[in-house]
């Protein structure tokens, strides 16, 4: 019997038992569609996480952070200089593997006020104009301050949309977008001019959510307006979205402005330590928090550097370390923080999601396969006589084996194809149910994998029943009632 005939016979048999075949296929359909849908969800998640990774500046960005002096250098603590502009200039001149150096001076506990409204922005940073590039900011309105603004220590600032929302009202509340370029605000009672505003950073899923809500009338709020605090906004709970909230909550001012207006000014409660002391002025851990405490402190909070080539991360960091050990008199009071951790976290999360999804799908496909085997075994028991007749009129072991195997494989193939169709419907259903979540992306690879898997399951499930059927003794099979 040629294979074409075998397939035709297989189809006939399946068609003759339509309902049973459908039930049998159901296992495979569910298995394939869950595998494809699962991988589509993971892919969507992956896209969302990559988005977040790019938003924080990509892998090339490395932060130089202060670090406690190691034990073996504790006796040199009073000589430690901290991270200063010296490091910036030294790195620019002497570390060719680093393409960009951005000094950042951060002051906490400041209050921005305008017309009775106020905000304490999370990131109040004095920096250089190139911070925009390194931190992947986009100035949507107005301009970034430039070197001249910095040189003259002008009172200008560039704000994120969260700051605008707090001081001028968000587009959602007002119904139109306010672009406060040219407006003046007070930062700790000093007048600053807003010269630029960043675009509104948000993940794809938040964007979609916002666009969806645009069509709906705003819900009436219950109770008085209240801030739910950082990180608990509408998008809280979704992976990665805090990064966008964080980024929107930013004010950039020129580095020199920061230095002159907020750092060099003699503070009220100077802790009595000199500029180069280590104890209380440490900017990254400014102890007093809410009450602004201005201590003359020329040190930078952080230094962000950009690695020229991601493949030469280690070499570039070594180079930077060598340079900085020189400027720090050999005292290792700094460390490098790369974004590899986050990247690894993302990779791990994706791997885990993929693994658990894959296992669930594989199990359901396996169950589908067991279903096929079960039905095929029942089917051949039912057809012992038929098999006897076929053998009596000349069917060989191979003929019967092929017939049963083909039936099993045909069931699996039809089930697999139906599963692919179902998976598409399923994903559309998921999108319709929660349009704001990361869009699941069905990949061709996952479809091919799922289909191949279903065929393999069909073959494996058919082998034993086919063998059992083909081995039947025709005499006994003919006697079988």
């Amino acid at each position: 019997m040629n294979p074409f005939n075998a397939i035709a016979v297989g189809f006939k048999e399946i068609w003759a038992n339509k309902f049973r075949s459908l039930l049998t296929m159901l296992g495979i359909i569910l298995g394939v569609s869950s595998l494809v849908a699962m991988s589509a969800l993971v892919k969507g998640m992956e896209n969302g996480m990559k988005e977040a990774l790019i938003a924080i500046g990509g892998l090339e960005k490395v932060r130089v952070e202060e670090q406690d002096i190691p034990v073996w250098q504790q006796h040199l603590a009073d000589q430690a200089v901290g991270t200063t502009m010296n490091d910036v200039h030294a790195l620019i001149r002497s570390a060719p593997l680093i393409t960009m150096v951005v000094p950042e001076m951060r002051t906490r506990g400041i209050t921005m006020t305008r017309a009775g409204k106020s905000i304490s922005p999370y990131n109040f940073i004095g920096t250089w104009p190139n911070a925009v590039e390194l931190n992947q900011h986009v100035v949507a309105h107005g301009r970034m301050f430039n070197e001249i603004d910095d040189e003259n220590a002008r009172n200008v600032c560039v704000i994120g949309t969260a700051v605008r929302n707090a001081l001028f009202g968000s587009p959602e509340q007002i119904g139109r977008e306010i672009i406060p370029i040219g407006e003046f605000v007070n930062i700790n009672s000093q007048r600053f001019k807003i010269i630029g505003m960043f675009e509104h950073y948000e993940s794809e899923q938040d964007k979609k959510l916002r666009e969806l809500q645009k069509d709906k009338p705003p819900e009436p709020k219950s109770g008085p307006d209240r801030s739910k605090g950082f990180g608990s906004s509408k998008s809280s709970g979704r992976s990665g979205s805090y990064i966008f909230d964080f980024k929107n909550n930013t004010i950039y001012i020129p580095l020199n402005t920061m230095w002159l207006r907020f750092r060099a000014a003699t503070g009220t409660s100077g802790a009595g330590t000199g500029s180069f002391g280590r104890s209380s002025g440490s900017s990254s851990s400014s102890a007093s928090g809410s009450t602004a405490e201005f201590v003359p402190d020329p040190r930078l909070s952080t230094l962000s550097i950009k690695i020229a080539d991601i493949d030469q991360m280690d070499e570039a960091l070594q180079q930077a370390k060598n340079v900085m050990l020189h400027t720090h008199k050999g005292i290792e009071d700094f460390s490098f923080r790369t974004q590899e951790n986050m990247s690894e976290g993302i990779t791990n999360a994706i791997k885990n999601a993929r693994m658990s999804g894959g296992i669930i799908s594989a199990i359901s496909l396996l169950v589908g396969g067991i279903g096929i085997m079960n039905i095929m075994l029942a089917s051949i028991t039912e057809r012992v006589r038929e098999i006897g007749i076929r053998k009596a009129i000349g069917a060989t072991f191979f003929d019967v084996f092929t017939q049963i195997l083909v039936e099993s494989v045909v069931i699996a193939i039809i089930g697999g194809l139906a599963g692919l169709v179902t998976s598409n419907l399923l994903v559309q259903l998921l999108v319709a149910m929660s349009p704001a979540d990361n869009t699941p992306v069905i990949t061709v690879e996952s479809m091919m994998l799922a289909f191949a898997f279903s065929v393999v399951v069909g073959i494996l499930a058919g082998l034993f029943p086919a063998f059992k059927a083909a081995k039947l003794n025709p005499i006994q099979a003919l006697r079988y009632e």
């Binding site: 019997m1 076929r390 000349g394």
Partner: protein, 244 residues
């Protein structure tokens, strides 16, 4: 040379340590074109003999030659090929596949022989004409009477032009009148040159064949050829309708 030659054929079963000789040292020749009956009470070994003659089973001992080739030690695959090409079976319970129509049932042996679909159709229709069933080709077996089903089964047995047709109690499940027409059909086929072996326990049916082989306790008890002994020059029912 005889179409089938059995020499010292035994079939031995072991049941709980006890040796059962279903066939015991049987010698038998069947010539081409013969119309014979194998007769014996149930348990006599006639079914075993038919299974071995029909290549459904292999003997424990002895040699069996079909059409000049030794098949006593043939593999299962070779036996399947021989069953397909050289042997036709007609069963008591017709054994048509219920899901296929008559034409497809008749085509089935040719499917396993690897014939083209066009050839299958033509030869199946020829075979159905021979048994006067060509007008029922598209019917399902369940839509046919017992006699019609048996005719279709005979067409299936003949369709690959086998050397010999075995009919195992072909009238056992039919009323006597229908049974008789089936026997008549076998007789006509034998006149056209087919070799036919009827397996039955009923001496009346055996009476229609010129040659009778009687099996008892696994041995050939009698081997009567009416043509040789001159007792009969044709089947009884052809001479007169003495049974009904």
């Amino acid at each position: 040379m005889a179409l089938i030659e059995l020499r010292g054929v035994s079939k031995i079963y072991h049941l709980g340590g006890e040796e059962i000789r279903a066939l015991d040292n049987v010698d038998l020749d069947i010539n081409g074109g013969e119309f014979i009956s194998i007769i014996g009470p149930s348990g006599s070994g006639k079914s075993t003999l038919m299974h071995i003659l029909g290549c459904l089973d292999s003997p424990s001992k002895g040699s069996i030659k079909l059409d000049g080739t030794e098949i006593g030690s043939a593999s299962a695959r070779e036996l399947a090929r021989i069953r397909n090409q050289k042997i036709g079976f007609v069963f008591q319970f017709f054994n048509l596949l219920p899901k296929l129509n008559v034409l497809q049932n008749v085509e089935l042996p040719m499917v396993y022989a690897g014939c083209s679909s066009r050839e299958r159709r033509e030869r199946a229709m020829d075979a159905l004409k021979l048994v006067e069933m060509d007008n029922r080709a598209k019917h399902r077996p369940m839509q046919l009477s017992g006699g019609q089903q048996q005719r279709a089964a005979i067409a299936r047995a003949l369709v690959n032009s086998p050397k010999i047709v075995f009919a195992d109690e072909p009238t056992g499940n039919l009323d006597s009148h229908t049974g008789e027409t089936i026997l008549k059909l076998f007789h006509e086929l034998s006149l056209k040159g087919s070799t036919i072996a009827l397996v039955t326990h009923d001496p009346e049916i055996a009476a229609v064949t010129p040659r009778k082989i009687e099996i008892r306790d696994g041995k050939i008890a009698r081997n009567v050829d009416a043509k040789l002994s001159g007792q009969l020059d044709g089947p009884k029912f052809a001479v007169g309708n003495q049974q009904n």
